[in-house]
């Protein structure tokens, strides 16, 4: 019985991590967001643009309703039905998406997607389109949460 309930608890654990970045003339520029099963939301954004190091790291605990909304957005996107085997390998520019939801676990990587034109020309336009819009929706949600919690209005 203990094993069963532990397995159930494990299956209910939800985790998502998205990373996009590259190393270039402005150093390691990246954006990363992560939501832990505990509700801890982490956000990091780093750039060395024009030699000015700017690193933003934020962490806040979100309520269960927020976690449920992440799950809903991810489930409705259909990303867990996709497969990255036909996606290009990331080179200098890289995106990583890892999701653990119910008993599904995906870990996808691909190069940065410039635009929908790049997607149309690829071997798996449906998969990449799903990835592209989901990551945009996730970034949007995380940025709204982080800004609402941490950013004061300018005077």
């Amino acid at each position: 019985m203990t094993t069963m309930s532990a397995a159930t608890a494990h299956n209910d654990e939800f985790y998502v991590r998205y990373y996009v970045g590259h190393r270039g003339q402005f150093g390691h520029e990246f954006l990363e967001l992560e939501l832990h099963p505990s509700g801890k939301l982490r956000y990091a954004n780093n750039s060395n643009y024009k030699h000015e190091k700017s690193m933003v790291r934020r962490e806040v605990f979100v309520g269960p309703a927020v976690t449920e909304e992440f799950k809903r957005i991810i489930t409705e996107s259909g990303i867990t039905q996709m497969d990255d085997k036909n996606w290009e390998e990331p080179r200098a520019r890289c995106q990583e998406l890892e999701i653990k939801i119910r008993n599904e676990h995906i870990s996808f990587t691909c190069p940065e997607i410039g635009s929908l034109v790049d997607i149309q020309k690829s071997k798996d336009p449906e998969g990449l389109k799903t990835f592209y819009f989901l990551t945009q929706d996730l970034k949007c949600l995380v940025l709204s949460l982080i800004n609402m919690h941490f950013k004061a209005r300018p005077i």
Partner: protein, 127 residues
């Protein structure tokens, strides 16, 4: 609706209050509630179940009935341009935010039932 005197102290981020809406599913809520925390300029509630054709005005009108909305963010789906389904609404005081939760959780906007909960909470026990 009884309001505890502690609700009026803005520095008091005690346990979030009971949901007093008439929504039938409340009795079955099993998601545990932890204490809400204040954001940099106020108290933020998280609204979900928003109808895809809802406009920002639909949300701000409903939420302005329970206090002065100081900030609001309602995002759109990046592919369709329609409402994504959630919004963040900020009030200056915890009392106003709690009032919005108590009255609007389970309410309908454009015929669809919304949920209203605290956006940000105290750290939970594990990592």
């Amino acid at each position: 609706m009884q309001r505890s005197p502690r609700d009026d102290n803005p520095d008091n981020d005690h346990e979030a209050g009971e949901i007093r809406s008439r929504h039938p599913h409340h009795q079955q809520r099993t998601i545990p509630r932890t204490g809400a925390v204040r954001s940099v300029e106020g108290w933020v509630v998280f609204v979900t179940g928003i109808h895809e054709e809802a406009q920002e005005d639909d949300i701000s009108d409903a939420f302005s009935d329970h206090g002065t909305v100081t900030k609001m963010q309602m995002n759109v789906d990046r592919q369709t341009g329609l409402a994504k389904g959630y919004a963040l609404v900020e009030y200056a005081s915890q009392t106003e935010a709690q009032d919005a939760i108590n009255n609007l959780h389970g309410a309908k906007i454009l015929g669809k039932t919304i949920a209203v909960n605290w956006a940000f909470v105290k750290p939970t026990g594990y990592r």
